[in-house]
Amino acid sequence: MNIVLSIFMLFGLAAIAPFVNQRFPKLSGWLLSLVPAGLFVWFLSKIPAVVQGVSISESYPWLAAMGINFSFELDGLSLLFALLVTGIGALILIYAGYYMRSYQKTNRFFGYLVFFMASMLGLVTASDWILLFMFWEFTSVSSFVLIGFKHEKSAAREAALQALLITGLGGLALLAGLIMMSLPYGDFGFDAVINTPELFLESKLFIPATILILIGAFTKSAIFPFHFWLPGAMQAPSPVSAFLHSATMVKAGIYLLARLHPVMESQELWIYTLSVFGVVTMIVGAWFALAQQDLKKILAYTTVSALGTLVLLIGTSTAYSITAALVFLLVHAFYKATLFMMAGNIEKKTGTRDIRKLGQLSRYMPVATVISLLALLSMSGIPPMIGFIGKELMYEAKLNAPEAGNFILIMGFLANAFTVFVSFRFAYEVFWGKSVAFQKPPHEPDVSLLTGPAVLVLISLVLGIFPNQVADLLGPAFQAILPAEQLIKLKLWHGFNEILLLSFLTVLLGVVMFAFRAKIIQVVSYMNLNFFNAKLSQKFFSGIDVFLSLTKKKTAVVQHGYHRFYLMTIFISAGLLLLLTTNAIDFSVDFSWHQSPLNYLIFLAAIMIIAGSVVVITAKSRLLALIATGFVGIGITIIFIIYSGVDLAITMVMVETLTVVIGAMVVYYLPKYLDYSGVGARIRDGIVAVFFGGVMSYLALQTTSPEGMDKISAFFAANSYTKAFGENIVNVILVDFRALDTLGEIVVLALAAIGIVSLLKLNAHKKSSR
């Protein structure tokens, strides 16, 4: 058993999951969860080794030439995430096995879900940036198909598109950043940059690379201003929300930040960016959670807030903050996954997620109520849940923040208070509150639907009481993020101190707000509508619409369909491009002229060509134009005759006549010339024509061969008779020296003949309709 195998097992499971679900529709969730559960156990068994600092790593060549390998490493951070992915994954599968029964086409759902799980496991265990990126993109794609699972709804399709585009954009930024970061090393392994960060930090690409990588992480983890895709992603079925959009995928960005933290911790750019965006996201998420009416949207915004908090904590970069971040990561995964699953349960049993249409559920589903309440307690940071420890550590970290501590503290305080308010509101409005007339009385969710939440809540509770059980796990993770420091010891009870006071005040403020909930929701809604009506998601789509209509217009300008303007573009650009190359050429022309009667024939040829051309241009009859074309051809033939092109002249005469003849035979069927163009168009076209002709003339003037140049044709003249036994050099070239050209030429003729016949005789349309 090794890491690669574990990942491949999951990918294999993804491949067979649809068939398992088809064969055992009732048991599929449980059956499928066996594999991640087993892997969970296997990862658990690795804790001792990891604690002792034994690095478990594997590497297989991939694109070794460019320093890209299938490298995996299981350090504390990876192990922590691997456990989350497999553990919660197993629980989610159990949940989904029952939850998805009411859906159609669930076979592929399980495939996608397990595929995501495998990708996520790969992402957190990879120790090669490109490998990580591959899994990163896999998670984006699986998130896309899962968000769009109810694809018959246009909202689902749009949300999926939005999520994919945002994360795809981030993915590209990340890729660019990772390439920039790895350039100095020529190697994409983690070790390179982590062992010798100076090379990267001192490279001139440091700033762009960092910004790009941050964009990648922020988009994935729904950090402001990219946060808006996450609430939209609530179109996905609840197991997906619980797994991808709270517990795991959105943490990928956090994972990346943590991964890079040892490299970046000394950089102000890094620290400040994380802190600022973390704070903003934290407060924005919490604020928007206040007045939401949809259970999953409430949870989504609190998730945004939590993700912001995590970024802030990593950015703060102290022993407290990193400890807090790790603990909060776990805490949040536990309660948020629970709550999402419960939200799904509630929706399933009542048919709605709208908090206004829910109430008094504690009467119908006591077990679910208890589970939910415990999770909400954890979310509110109330003992004895582990959420309390998380919040204590957060306050401690914020108090100890190296800079702007007070501001961060106030913001954190508000965000936490808002979360408390939201939790209370959730609990009250759903489980108590006003009584609602359900169409059919809801009842307790089934065991499969409660197993996952129950287990997670239980863990939250146990860990809250015995927090140091996780210290073993968090210690190595901490080391991976902040090697210079030590994990802070976790305790439920710190004694009476300012932090406890803060926790108390937080809850108090939340409760007070809850007391005035009607007013607050009214005010917040009003403010959201009038001051914070960013509606980024809508703007995103209207932006796309604007972009599309703009490109459509621009495209219509470029790809307007008018053939002659295409040609005009071609000739003008070709002429200009050719002019570009002529700056080196000097304009010295050979005006020499030597006396011979034949020389005067050039004038005859010129007159014929020019006069014939004028006739062609001005001709009102098509046949006249064709004959005049032939006339011009004869003018050219005369030039060939004067300058020794015997075969050429013969061929020219023949080809010319045949072309004109075929032209006449064909043109006969066509209608008469019409005057299409006005004088303006003619003048414009004339200018283009003269321009291009002038350029070509200019080039022709420069073609005088350099003095004493060797031409390969000397070889033909010397060997035509002696080696190829022919006196006609041109013909010998055609059938011997360059017979291959001639072979191609007759193939062209044959194909042209076939084409002509097919044009005349074939009519796919008529035959097929017959």
């Binding site: 008018y562 050979d590 051809g633 015997v646 072309t659 024509a689 003339s697 003037l701 050099i729």
Partner: protein, 116 residues
């Protein structure tokens, strides 16, 4: 006279461009013919002009150094000419069939193909 021929080449290119820019498909095809005239002449001209000494070696003088016009451009033009003939014949039949199917000879009527 080199200048004259160079100017003729340019003139033929210009006529060809002008014809190609017409809306009538017949003129378009004639424009193609002119383009091939211009091109062949260009190739001929670029190969260097030699008056009335066709590229032949007599059996008797095969061993001595022969002065003939450059045979290679001629062979190349021949090939290009023949290929051009095949293509021109195809083009002509194409415009015939084109007219038969579409009922128009005005190229501006084609502008809707690229409608997105």
């Amino acid at each position: 006279m080199n200048v004259l021929i160079a100017l003729l080449i340019g003139f033929l290119y210009a006529v060809s461009v002008y014809l190609l820019l017409r809306r009538s498909i017949v003129k378009l095809v004639i424009g193609i013919l002119f383009l091939s005239y211009a091109t062949n002449l260009m190739l001929f001209f670029a190969g260097g002009l030699t008056e009335t000494s066709p590229a032949f070696v007599m059996a008797s003088e095969a061993q001595s150094a022969v002065m003939t016009s450059d045979s290679l451009p001629q062979a190349l033009i021949l090939t290009a000419l023949v290929i051009g003939f095949g293509v021109a014949a195809f083009s002509m039949v194409l415009i015939y069939r084109f007219y038969k199917e579409t009922g128009t000879v005005d190229l501006d009527d084609l502008s809707d193909i690229e409608k997105l």
